[in-house]
Amino acid sequence: MKSPFSVIFWKEVKENLRDKRTITSALVMGPLMGPVLFAVLFSFMIQQQKSQSEAPLELPVIGAENAKSFIKYARQRGARIIPGPSDPEQAIRAKEHKLVLRIDDDYARQFRSGQPARIQLYYDASDKDSATPVKRTRVLIERYGHQIGAARLQLRGVSPMLNQPAFIENHDLSTPQSRAAIILALLPYVLMIGIFTGGMYLAIDTTAGEKERQSLEPLLLNPVRRSTILAGKLAATVAFSLMAVAITILTFKIAFHFIPFEELGMALKLDGRVMGLIFLLLMPVALLAGAVQTIIAAFSRNFREAQTYLSILLLLPMLPSIAVMVMPVKETPWMIATPILGQNLLINQLVKGEDITTVNLLLATGGTALVGFGLAWIAVKLYNRESMLFSS
C-alpha cells in the first residue's frame, strides 16, 4: 500500500503528463524558447560586432585628389576609398553612408605651409551603426597626423618625443568572460522562467482547477489530511518545475555550441559540474515558485483568473536580473540569501567561469528554501480554510 502522499503525487504527475496543454507550455515551449531566443540574440550581436570591426573600412571621400598622401596612407591601412556623394549631409540623413570625409581645395595649401589642414567628417552620432566606423576613421586620421608631425619635427632636428610629455598604457582587467556579463545577466532569468512556467498549470489545477471542475469536495471527503493532499500536489508542481528547468539547462548546453563566443574572445563555461551546481541552486526556487503560485491560484475564482495572475507573476523573477544589470555592485551576504537575487548572482559567476564559495552556495539555497517552506506552510493553511471550497 502506498502512502496517500505518493498516491496523490503520482496521480497528479500521470494526469498532467497526459495533458497536451501542460506538456506544451511547461516542458516544451518554456524550456526551449528561452535558450533558443538567447542564442539567436547573442549570435546576432556577435555577428554585428564582428562585421563592423573586421570588414574593410569604407571611406566615402569628397576631394580625394586634394590629399594624395593621406589617401595613400589610408589605402595602405586597408581602407576602401570610394568617391563621396555630392551632398554629404543629405547622404547621411538618407542613410546612404554612415560617414563622409570632405577634403577641400585649401587642404593642400595648408598642408604644404605647415598649418593644420582641415578634413571634415560628416556623421550622425545618434545612428549607433556609425560609432565603430567613425571611431576607426578618427584613429586613422590621428595616426596619420602623428606620423607626419613626427617626420616634420625630425626634419628640424627636434625629437618627436618632446611632443609627447605623457602617454597612456592600458591595463584592461576585464576577462573575456566578464565582457559578456550584460547579456549573460539574462541567462538566470530564462532559467527562472522555466521554473515558473513549468509548475504553473499544476499550481492552478491544484486549487482553482479543482474548484472549477467540482472535484475538490469529493477529494476532501477521503480520509486523508488536507495538508497531505496539498503536500502531494505541491510536490508534483515542484517536480514539473524541476523537469522544466533541467530541460532548460540542457537546451542551454546545446545552444552554447551554436553561439560563436570565441569570436568575441569569450569562453563560457557550462560543463557537468556547473550544470549540476545551477540545478542545485534552483531547486529551492522551484519550491518557492510552486508555493507562491499555489497561494495566488487559491485566491482566484477560476482557472482563467488564476492564469492571468500567474502570467503577471512571470515578471517577478525579472526584477533581480534588471537589478544586476543596472547596479553592478559587490554582492553582500544578504543579497546572496535573498531568493532569486542570490541565484542570479551566483549563476552569473558560475557561467563566467568564476568559482562560488560553499558559504554562498549554502546561503543562497538555505535562504530560498527557508522562504519556500514558509510560503508552502501558508499555502497549506489556506487550503485548510472552509472558504477554499466555495469558489463563488
Binding site: 500500500m1 496517500p4 496521480k11 475538490l216 469529493p218 471527503l221 472552509e386 471550497l389
Partner: protein, 249 residues
C-alpha cells in the same frame, strides 16, 4: 447509522439550517426531502463533516466527523452535489484513485472496481478517459468512487439529478441492493416520485427546519392527502415562511 442533533448554520445574516435533527438507521433508505434552497445540501455537508455546524452534533456509527474526521470517513461514502471527475484519467483510474486514498490494498481496489463496474453497468466506458462523458456516465463513475471502500454509511446529495430514465433506474436498483446488504443510506432529493419509489423514511425540510418525519403512508395520514406531492405542499404551506432565509452558499 447516521445521527444528527440540533444542527444550525448561518451564512452572514441568513439562517441556512435551524436545529435540524435526523436519524438514518442501517438497512433503510432515508430521504431528506425539500425544495431547492431548503437547506438540504448544507445539512448534509455538516453531517459528513465538510463544514462545521455552529451548534449541534453529528455521529456516524458513533464517531464525531468534526472531531475524528479521518476515522468517520472510513465508514462513510459521500456523493456530494459537486461531482467533478479527472478528465485525463479513465473512469476506472478515477475510481482506483479514491480507493488508494482510502488506504485500501491494491488487490481490494481491483476487486471492488471490477464489482462496481459490473453492478453499475459501466463495462463499455470504464477504460475510457472521462472527458466528454454523458451526465449519466459521470454520475455512475462518481457513485462508484464514492463507494469503492464499501462504506457502511452512504450519503448522496440529489443522486439522480439530470439523469435519464435508464440511468435513474440502474442507480435506484443499485441502492436497493446496498440497502439489502444492511447499509445505511441517506439521500437528499426534491423529486417526490423518486422519494416515493425507494425511500423507507422521509424527513421533510423547509426553510432550514425539519417540518415532518415518517414513512410515506404516515405523512399521507398526517396530512390527509392522497399522494406525497400534495402532502409535501400541505406540510410546507403550514410551516410559516416567516423566518428569513436565502439560498445555498
Amino acid at each position: 447509522m447516521i445521527q444528527a442533533q440540533q444542527l444550525s448554520k448561518t451564512f452572514g445574516h441568513v439562517q441556512a439550517v435551524n436545529s435540524v435533527s435526523l436519524q438514518a438507521p442501517d438497512g433503510r433508505i432515508t430521504a431528506l426531502l425539500g425544495a431547492n434552497g431548503a437547506g438540504k445540501t448544507t445539512s448534509l455537508r455538516m453531517i459528513y463533516g465538510l463544514i462545521r455546524p455552529e451548534s449541534g452534533q453529528v455521529r456516524i456509527d458513533g464517531v464525531d466527523p468534526h472531531h475524528d474526521r479521518e476515522q468517520s470517513l472510513h465508514t462513510l461514502g459521500v456523493l456530494p452535489d459537486a461531482r467533478g471527475l479527472y478528465k485525463n484519467l479513465t473512469a476506472r483510474e478515477n475510481i482506483e484513485y479514491f480507493g488508494r486514498l482510502h488506504g485500501m490494498a491494491e488487490s481490494d481496489v481491483q476487486r471492488r472496481c471490477d464489482l462496481l463496474i459490473e453492478q453499475l453497468g459501466m463495462q463499455s466506458f470504464a477504460h475510457r478517459r472521462t472527458e466528454g462523458f454523458s451526465q449519466g456516465q459521470r454520475v455512475k463513475v462518481a457513485l462508484a468512487r464514492t463507494l469503492v471502500h464499501d462504506p457502511q454509511n452512504i450519503i448522496l446529495d440529489e443522486p439522480t439529478n439530470g439523469l435519464d430514465v435508464m440511468a435513474t433506474r440502474s442507480v435506484r436498483d443499485f441502492l436497493r441492493q446496498e440497502k439489502a446488504r444492511g447499509k445505511c443510506i441517506l439521500f437528499s432529493s426534491h423529486v417526490m416520485q423518486e422519494v416515493s419509489a425507494i425511500c423507507d423514511h422521509i424527513v421533510v425540510i423547509h426553510n432550514g427546519r425539519i417540518c415532518a418525519t415518517g414513512s410515506e403512508s404516515e405523512l399521507l395520514a398526517q396530512t390527509g392527502q392522497k399522494n406525497l406531492e400534495d402532502a409535501f405542499v400541505h406540510l410546507i404551506s403550514h410551516n410559516g415562511d416567516n423566518n428569513a432565509r436565502g439560498n445555498n452558499p
